[in-house]
C-alpha cells in the first residue's frame, strides 16, 4: 500500500518538474500514435466506404474477416512486421526496423481492421430514407458517398477514437518492432513494462498516469468535436 502512495507522490513530482526523460517518452508516444491514427484514417475510412458502397461477391465474408481482426493480438502484428522489416526480411532494405517509423507501420496494421470495420458499420447505420433523399436530391455517385459519410461523421469519429485508444495503449508490437531503445523508440507502454520489471514502481506509475491522461485528453477533444 505504501508503495502505491509513494509511487503516486513520485509520479506527480516527475510530471510537475517536467522530467526530461518523461517528456521525451511522452512526446514520442504522442507522435507515433497521432501519426498512425492520421495515416489509418486517411487510408481506411475510404477503404471502409469503398467496401460499404459497392456490392461484390464475398462482401459478407470480407466484413466477417475484418471484424475478426478487431481482436488481432498485438504480438502477432509485432511478429508479422518483424518478419517483414527485419534485416533479413523482404522489406529489410528500407531500414525501418527498430525505428519509430516501423512502430507506426505496426500500429497502422493493428488499427486498420477497427477503423475499416467501424466505418462500415457507421455507414450502414445511416437511415435508408436519408440515403434515398441524398440520391433524390440529385447527387452524383461520388457526392452521395461524401454526403453519406458526412451523415455518419459522429459514428466514424467514434471509430477514430477506438482506433486511437488501441494504438496508444498497445505494448506488444511496439516492443517487438521498436525494441524499446532509450531516447529513440521507447514509448510509454514499453517504458512501463521495462521499469516495472526493474522495480522502478514510481517511475512506472508516473508513466501510467500520463498515458491515461493522454487518452483522456484526446477523448475529451474528440468528444467536443462530436457534440458540435
Amino acid at each position: 500500500m505504501n508503495e502505491i502512495i509513494n509511487g503516486l507522490i513520485k509520479a506527480i513530482e516527475l510530471i510537475v518538474t517536467l522530467d526530461p526523460e518523461v517528456i521525451d517518452i511522452t512526446l514520442l508516444t504522442l507522435r507515433i500514435s497521432i501519426a498512425s491514427i492520421l495515416i489509418t484514417s486517411l487510408i481506411f475510412i475510404p477503404t471502409g466506404s469503398l467496401i460499404h458502397f459497392h456490392e461484390f461477391r464475398g462482401k459478407r465474408w470480407l466484413i466477417n474477416i475484418i471484424q475478426t481482426l478487431f481482436a488481432l493480438p498485438t504480438v502477432v502484428v509485432g511478429l508479422l512486421v518483424f518478419l517483414l522489416l527485419s534485416r533479413a526480411g523482404p522489406l529489410g532494405f528500407l531500414g525501418f526496423f527498430f525505428t519509430p517509423t516501423g512502430m507506426v507501420i505496426g500500429q497502422v496494421i493493428l488499427i486498420a481492421p477497427i477503423m475499416t470495420g467501424l466505418t462500415i458499420s457507421a455507414l450502414s447505420g445511416v437511415d435508408k430514407t436519408i440515403r434515398d433523399t441524398i440520391v433524390s436530391l440529385g447527387a452524383t455517385e461520388f457526392q452521395a458517398i461524401l454526403a453519406t459519410i458526412k451523415e455518419a461523421r459522429y459514428a466514424i469519429l467514434a471509430a477514430v477514437i477506438a482506433g486511437y485508444s488501441r494504438g496508444i495503449s498497445e505494448v506488444g508490437a511496439a516492443m517487438m518492432i521498436g525494441g524499446n531503445i532509450r531516447g529513440y523508440t521507447r514509448v510509454l507502454t514499453t517504458a512501463i513494462a521495462l521499469e516495472t520489471s526493474m522495480g522502478n514502481i514510481e517511475f512506472s506509475l508516473a508513466l501510467g498516469i500520463i498515458l491515461m491522461s493522454l487518452a483522456f485528453v484526446i477523448n475529451i477533444i474528440l468528444n467536443r468535436v462530436q457534440q458540435r
Binding site: T129, D132, L137, G138, A139, K150, Y154
Partner: protein, 354 residues
C-alpha cells in the same frame, strides 16, 4: 409530361407492380390513392428513378428516363421527392436546404438567395439557424419540403407526406402543396392512403390496388362512379347492392333493390348484371314519403344509430347505410326499430358492372 408505360416491378417472386400505365400532365396535382401495401411507394420510387423497373418505361417529356445513368441523374434533377419521414440531415435547417443546390454546383450567392426564399415559402424563415433535431414533426416535414422545392423541380413527388403528422400540421402541408402547385406550376404526384386527402387536393386521381392501377379519373368520377366493388368500397361507397337492369328508357334505367324499383341514370342495357352504388351521405332519411324532386324512396327499418361527431350513421335492417347530420337525426327523433323512408336522387346512384 410523364408517361409510365407497361411498368412492372418484382422483388424475387413477389410482383409489386403489374403493367402500370399512366400519363401525368404538366401542372396538375395527380394523387395515387390505395390501401397500404398496394404499391404506391414503389411506383413513386420508380418515377423518381431511385429504383429500376423490372420491365417497362418511364418517359419524361417524351424521353426515356432510364436510358443511361447520366440520363437518370439529369432527369432526377428535374424532380424532387418528399418522403413519409422528413429524413433531415444531422445539421442546421439552413444547411439542410442547401444540399440539392450544392449537388448541382450552384454558386454560393444564388444558394443563399434560393434557400432563404424556400424557407420563407414554407414559413420557416426564422428557423434558418435552428438545428434539425430540435424541430417538431410538422416543422421538420416543412424543412424537408423546402429542401425539395429549392431546386425548382418540374415535378414534385410526395409519398404519404402527412401520414405521421397531426391534423393541424397536415393542413399546413396541404396548403403548401396547393400553393406550390399554383404559384410555380409544379406538377405534383402524391401517394396517399387517405382517400379524403386525395380528393381534397387532386385534379386527377388514380386508384391503385394490389400493384395495379384500377381506375384513373377526376375526383367526382372516382368517388361517384367507381368501376368495381373494391374501388367503391375504398372510396367510401358503403351501399353496394348486386342487381340486374330491368329496363332502360333513354338513359333512365330501372333496377330492383330490396324489393323496390329505383330509377338510375345509366347507359347500361336491360338484362345486365350490375352493382348499385350509393354513397351514404347521398341518402336522406325522412318520416314521410313527401312530394319532392327526389325520385327514389325506399321504406326501411332502422337497426342501428351510431353518432360520428357532427354526423350520425344510420343503418337499416336491409343493410343500407345513410350518413345524416346530427341536427337532422335529432329533429327526426330517430330510434332503432323505427320505420322511415330513405330517399335518394337518380343521379346519386351509380351502376358499376357486376
Amino acid at each position: 409530361m410523364i408517361e409510365v408505360k407497361r411498368l412492372s416491378k418484382r422483388y424475387g417472386e413477389k410482383e409489386i407492380l403489374k403493367d402500370v400505365n399512366l400519363t401525368i400532365e404538366r401542372g396538375e396535382i395527380f394523387t395515387i390513392i390505395g390501401p397500404t401495401g398496394s404499391g404506391k411507394t414503389t411506383l413513386l420510387r420508380l418515377i423518381d428513378l431511385l429504383d429500376r423497373p423490372t420491365s417497362g418505361d418511364i418517359l419524361f417529356n417524351g424521353i426515356d428516363a432510364n436510358a443511361s445513368s447520366k440520363r437518370r441523374r439529369e432527369t432526377r434533377r428535374k424532380m424532387s421527392m418528399l418522403f413519409q419521414k422528413p429524413a433531415l440531415f444531422k445539421t442546421g435547417v439552413y444547411e439542410n436546404v442547401t444540399y440539392g443546390l450544392k449537388f448541382r454546383g450552384i454558386d454560393r450567392h444564388s444558394i443563399d438567395e434560393k434557400v432563404k426564399h424556400a424557407l420563407d415559402t414554407v414559413g420557416l424563415f426564422d428557423y434558418a439557424k435552428r438545428i434539425a433535431p430540435t424541430l417538431s414533426g410538422g416543422e421538420a416535414q416543412r424543412v424537408a419540403l423546402a429542401r425539395a422545392i429549392v431546386t425548382e423541380p418540374e415535378v414534385l413527388l410526395l409519398d404519404e407526406p402527412t401520414a405521421n403528422l397531426d391534423p393541424i400540421a397536415t393542413e399546413k402541408i396541404e396548403e403548401l402543396i396547393v400553393h406550390i402547385n399554383r404559384e410555380y406550376r409544379t406538377t405534383i404526384i402524391m401517394a396517399t392512403h387517405d382517400r379524403i386527402q386525395g380528393q381534397r387536393l387532386a385534379d386527377r386521381i388514380a386508384v391503385m390496388m394490389s400493384g395495379e392501377i384500377v381506375q384513373v379519373g377526376q375526383p367526382h368520377e372516382i368517388f361517384y362512379s367507381p368501376k368495381n366493388r373494391e374501388i367503391a368500397r375504398f372510396v367510401g361507397v358503403e351501399n353496394i347492392v348486386p342487381s340486374v337492369v330491368e329496363s332502360n328508357d333513354g338513359g333512365l334505367a330501372v333496377v330492383n333493390i330490396f324489393g323496390s324499383n329505383i330509377t338510375v341514370i345509366s347507359t347500361l342495357k336491360a338484362g345486365e348484371g350490375v352493382l348499385v352504388c350509393i354513397r351514404p351521405e347521398d341518402i336522406m332519411i325522412s318520416r314521410e314519403t313527401g312530394k319532392s324532386s327526389v325520385r327514389n324512396v325506399l321504406k326501411v327499418k332502422i337497426s342501428k344509430i351510431v353518432p360520428l361527431g357532427p354526423l350520425v350513421r344510420v343503418k337499416t335492417e336491409n343493410s343500407l347505410v345513410a350518413l345524416i347530420t346530427r341536427q337532422a337525426a335529432e329533429d327526426l327523433q330517430l330510434n332503432a326499430g323505427d320505420e322511415v323512408y330513405a330517399k335518394f336522387k337518380a343521379t346519386s346512384v351509380h351502376l358499376a358492372c357486376g
